[in-house]
Symmetry: C2
Subunit: 944 residues, 2 copies
Amino acid sequence: MPFVFDFDHAHARPPMELKDLLGGKGANLAEMTSVLGLPVPPGFTISTEACRAAMSGGWPDGLSAEVDRARARLERTMGKRIGAASDPLLVSVRSGAKFSMPGMMDTVLNLGLNDESVLGLARQTADERFAFDSYRRFVAMYARIVLGIPGDEFDSLLEAAKELARTTSDAGIPTELLRYLVDAYKQIVERHTGAPFPQDPGDQLRGAIEAVFASWSGPRAIAYRVRERISHDLGTAVNVQAMVFGNRDDASGTGVGFTRDPATGAKGAYGDFLVNAQGEDVVAGIRNTEPLSALGTRFPGIYDELLEIFARLESHYRDMCDTEFTIEQGKLWMLQTRVGKRTGRAALRMAVEMTTDPAIRLTKAEAVARVTGDHLDQVLHPQFSTTGHTVLTTGLGASPGAAVGRVYLTADDAQAAAERGEKVVLVRSETSPEDVHGMLAAEGILTARGGLVSHAAVVARGWGKPAVVGAEAVRVGKGSFSVGGIVVREGEWISLDGTTGTVVLGQVEVSRGKTPKEFDTILQWADAIRRGHLGVRANADNGPDAANARRLGAEGIGLCRTEHMFLGEDRLPVVRRMILAATPDDEADALEELRRVQKADFEEILEAMDGLPVTVRLLDPPLHEFLPDTQELAIKEATVGLTPEEHRLFEAAKDWHELNPMLGTRGVRLGVIKPGLYAMQVRALMEAALARVAAGGRPMVEIMIPLTISREELALARSWVEGAVAATLDAAASKAGKGGKGRKGRPAADRGRLQVTIGTMIETPRAALRAAEIAEFADFFSFGTNDLTQMTFGFSRDDVEGRMMAAYLEAGLLPRNPFEVVDADGVGELVRMGVERGRATRPDLKVGVCGEHGGDPESIATFAAAGLDYVSCSPFRIPIARLAAAQAVLGAEPVPSAEPVPPTGKAAGKAAGKRAAATTAAAKRTPAKRAAAKRAPAKRAASR
Amino acid sequence: MPFVFDFDHAHARPPMELKDLLGGKGANLAEMTSVLGLPVPPGFTISTEACRAAMSGGWPDGLSAEVDRARARLERTMGKRIGAASDPLLVSVRSGAKFSMPGMMDTVLNLGLNDESVLGLARQTADERFAFDSYRRFVAMYARIVLGIPGDEFDSLLEAAKELARTTSDAGIPTELLRYLVDAYKQIVERHTGAPFPQDPGDQLRGAIEAVFASWSGPRAIAYRVRERISHDLGTAVNVQAMVFGNRDDASGTGVGFTRDPATGAKGAYGDFLVNAQGEDVVAGIRNTEPLSALGTRFPGIYDELLEIFARLESHYRDMCDTEFTIEQGKLWMLQTRVGKRTGRAALRMAVEMTTDPAIRLTKAEAVARVTGDHLDQVLHPQFSTTGHTVLTTGLGASPGAAVGRVYLTADDAQAAAERGEKVVLVRSETSPEDVHGMLAAEGILTARGGLVSHAAVVARGWGKPAVVGAEAVRVGKGSFSVGGIVVREGEWISLDGTTGTVVLGQVEVSRGKTPKEFDTILQWADAIRRGHLGVRANADNGPDAANARRLGAEGIGLCRTEHMFLGEDRLPVVRRMILAATPDDEADALEELRRVQKADFEEILEAMDGLPVTVRLLDPPLHEFLPDTQELAIKEATVGLTPEEHRLFEAAKDWHELNPMLGTRGVRLGVIKPGLYAMQVRALMEAALARVAAGGRPMVEIMIPLTISREELALARSWVEGAVAATLDAAASKAGKGGKGRKGRPAADRGRLQVTIGTMIETPRAALRAAEIAEFADFFSFGTNDLTQMTFGFSRDDVEGRMMAAYLEAGLLPRNPFEVVDADGVGELVRMGVERGRATRPDLKVGVCGEHGGDPESIATFAAAGLDYVSCSPFRIPIARLAAAQAVLGAEPVPSAEPVPPTGKAAGKAAGKRAAATTAAAKRTPAKRAAAKRAPAKRAASR
């Protein structure tokens, strides 16, 4: 396979499918040239394979010879020679990776100019000024990019020349000064490199190509790829193309054009245009551009030609295209095209409208595949409605949307201010379960520490509250916080954007558009595709969240965490009494009080999700989370002393203190130590369910045991749950007075209307390994992939998400943060193993996932391939999960946001085919599973 | 299959192989009756199967009928009827599980007595007193055991009767008072149960059988099984046997006899004997027994008969037997036999001597299988040489042996006292790496907190120092510690036994016998069996330990932890300087200083292990372990204030603080954050190796990267190591001046004499799952099963080993503490997976284990079955590991200490056959592996 391909190379497949090899730009240039026959300046592409070879082993053997031959072909085609003294050919050398990385990588224009060819250019164009201005620009650009010389020396000379010429614009510099500048620039180069500026065009070309290769590994490019989840292994292609000049005269110009409006999605050409200018001038924003439509009056023939090209591009790519074009002395040249980026609103509108556009005729499945989670996010969350604010600091965008409020630094103050009617932003070093009332009261949350799965981030996402976490420059003090030298006092206004992680001082205007009608259309189509394959549930812990989740399309609750029910102001003291209890009676009293309050919580949730399954996880966190911090109390003890009550709490906190709480007495282990706890929770839940039945509801209760490690443990926990379920039902029956005690006494009507199943989380590696045994006592599994990730990697998310994860991602040691995107190879294997082994024991086993990954599109694809029945995620992620689930069913790969959608049609069909292996297994399994479930509706319904 | 078997039942296999079914006692009674034809009182055994059925579903169908038929057969054989008014038959009802559980379960004697048969017994024996004394004992025993009535009411009536009769012995109570007592006892029963004492022998029998079944699940029995690692699922058999009476007259008696001396192993009958007494009297120790040899003068005929029986038993069981016998009016009856328990010294002597005993002729393999790790432990460690001390408190016996010393409560004080020449016991709440100098100075260590793999336990075992940990009653204060009301001040003497966990106030005399010659003989035989299959290496971190390990038979070092090299008094300040370094230069300076001191450490170790492989693990623990405790500094800051130096350390400690350090920035992650660290360690190691080569040594260096999670990470870490290795070798070469720089310049002689390989620990679940990829960059794997257990279960060993592990073991949720015995199902599957996947990539991959499990016999069997090349353990466990490795190769199951050895010969052969599946795989793999290694000695020797 050669390293170099001309734009008109006869590829065996359409070039636009060869982005892996040619990069995005090169593939589309070849498509326009060889398939569509559009007017594209000729050139050739050096493949990504050459870049990869150069990265691993230096400049590849044979590449020089191939470049020389391609250059000779290009010169023959153009009838000109690069670097020739008369009528010289100039070329551009541009990067072009598989995924667009705007502004991240290097470009060299006007390559081929030297001391001789500049004269040829002057003669040929009869424009000496143009020739020397081009040479000046080329020397500076080449020096900076290829030779690594700082640009400021060139800039200060340029400024001096303008001062000398008494002008403020580059165009005002006279030719003789430009000649002088070229000489001065070359001297700068010689001083830095110890050699004259390279005059040989072959040397210039090799230098430029090497510089583009090297820019792939530049720090900005690496950082961009980390953020956009693009693999560091891909490498970039390099496009060498004959230059055309939009800045020759007033019959020349340059512009960018979209085949539809990328902001609104409206049909019709859209773009910007500049007469007598080069491409950079449009982007740089120095001159005011004219709208594309102005072309119609200035160059009507060319405008018609462009509109025709736009129509051909849309019907060929079957999508909105983004183009760059140049007019050189009355001739139109297409310099680039690609499927265009778009806003969320535009993406939705285009996807829906293109299903009825006769030139495109998207299928509904294709329309669904065109929209990304980020698109939905944009239309769902409020955004800053103005731009250009001075940024105070930046952290991790942990929960999307914009929030504006007055700064408060403690949860109590935040709550008090909110009760006074103020809008509040809670600012903390980090949050803990003791801060939840303040978080609930706040419009948004800002923390100095913690990563995307820190307490603040998880809770904020769960509630759909904007949050910026890990803003490391923030120092929280008493009554104020500071960033560098700036101090922000309690009560001052700040604004934050939880999508981008930006924090702004003062009040920024926020807009929340209504979701467009296409939002619902696309999600309905998505639901039609995924139903029967992959369900979507919500993680929700209270009635309002549950109701909201249902409105957003949740088909039940996959995770109701009960720990929040222990943290209310009225409950924490009771929980502490339970922990401190000196006698079993004291403990039972406290549990009884908790049971009464929790019943109401459960009732609200079951009501909101009536007729849909609600998975309730019994208490999971270690008990010391409900006790005060030992260090604070230790300091207080050593200074002002402790009250007797504090002393007791201190002793208990020390007693329950753990060195590694994540691996300590949590989950079902709590149950083993304090069995009354789980029985209390189950009783509260069952009483709530019975109240719902009495009110005519149809509660579907799924009781879930956390952190299981073995069959024996689950069997024991199941026995407590079954005992408490039976006790509650019996008590209710005898209270109803219908025939006294015993199961037979329960009203028959209840039995049909109340469904109770008992299952477990699979969140330790051992549980996944021993799933066959564990399934003997589980009606369902729910993978807790947060914990499973922690234990499989040996990563405490609280500890590694800071400097360590950053170092790992930058070094390419991890392709993604495994707490954001599930690790398909390691954790994914345990999930697949757990599903297979569990279903081997119990073919009708219902299996879902309730970790944070349940709302991540790429992870959803992994789960779908593993044969899961449903995913569960934060209410605000539900629309995204519905879409991603449909895309997973379609076998479409989620695409990085930098390159919104892959071309569909034939190409997409093939790509989907390649991935069939994974998803066919899932699709095939589903009908069999459902049939099995019909044959034996083997729910071990505890209510039987 | 029936539930009930007569002692003379014609089993298809020798009954002594049927302990699973008949229990140990029942199997041996049947063997003596049906195979050896010895004089055994007739009876029958109710199988363990019946017990298991009763535990899960209540009294089994059909069992009553079977018991009735067996009882009828027994009555026909004896010519007497149970409960008959004339010449009644009495029976004993005894438990008998597969493994002996002495004193843990219930027995009922004299069953069959009632108001009528007591008169028959009186008539038949012409001894009314005897009859009523038997009846009184029976009622009290039955009431307590079967009916659950507290024994003290009976005891106080008995005391009253003695007072009335003005006697102090039971035998002094006259018959009429015994009659009165029987009546009073029956009234107690009626008051408690509301029903008369059961007169029907069938009811009595069923009650007794049910009570024995139930005693299997009694709390004492459960606790015993947890300690002795016996499965709760086995159940017990029940033996019903005709009573014989050694207390009839002076021609009667009872005794226990051993066929050899169980204390020394000396050949010849050995035991105790009492005239006119029942078995209980011998055990109770109320009357002084006579030595067995006295039987020769009192009952010469019976003595000869007994010696002949002993000889037959030894040649039949091919082992030392332990017997109980009774003489009733001049006739000898054998009541029980079993393979006898023995001391370590006796076990070794017997095993060796029996290979040349013509009646037994053990093979060497059988002899090796006869000895347990506990036996070796007993002869290796010093022991209290006297007994009966008042125990101050008891903790976990964490490191075996006895230690006596003065109490010191801080490491500094302990060290200072030791330097003054005092013998010291260090007492701490718990220990940390900062205490190691005090631990090193101490004779023994006592901690109040922590489990068997706590810091104190692991370090103490590593050094072979006696330690008792987790002695929860100990409260450590300032200048003293207390247990309950007893205060022990600094400088006072205590003694501790790290085998039993006992702590005694004052100085107890300690004996350390020399290891007997049979110790070396058995280990040489064991080595001959295991060599070429399973190697044994040591975990050792310094020269003396390495030398000691080599003396004890280690074939290299499997784990040299380098963290101890950072903790010396002269090093910790330098390590802190490295952590605090403000500039790269400061960091490099500190690293350079550490390199110099570490070189000497490595040199000592390599010298001690010259010619054998030494696996050096690069730094593993999180950096905050080298910083002071944040809470202490926080208190100091809040009270007396901090010095500037302390302030800097406090900031650093907060910066490096982690919520779950076990899952934090440790192992290779440290290397990613501070790459200079690993390069420094490798340079120090390589310089040491070169110094050894220069001194004529043959160092074999294996550099090990800890905590790997992926191929990419190991590839990067390997590149650092290879870089540092090459740099050191190049520097040495150019210093040597032989042709300047570059690899070619190195003296050729060095290359052959210095072997360097690079590998990784497999201690995260992900590493095991991704072993195929990871093996691409590893010359060897070493399983770190401590961490692998932590992550697979989600157990922090520091946090769960206290109340949680105790609760889990007692509830039967875990069969063993998985930090003591590797979890063969879960962690074991990951080990097997890691070995298979790693070898699929690299067939010659060397694989070992270096967790604490490497010294546990049962775990060694699991590792052998997984195909590991070697295990590595603390130097003091080396002999045990050598033995266990040989036993694993033989396919012998390690036996619980309660039942020292299974019968060998035919039985052992068959048992070994059953287990062949597991071990054959290992055995088969080994030769292939070695052949592969020969074909391609593909060590990626970094020294090449």
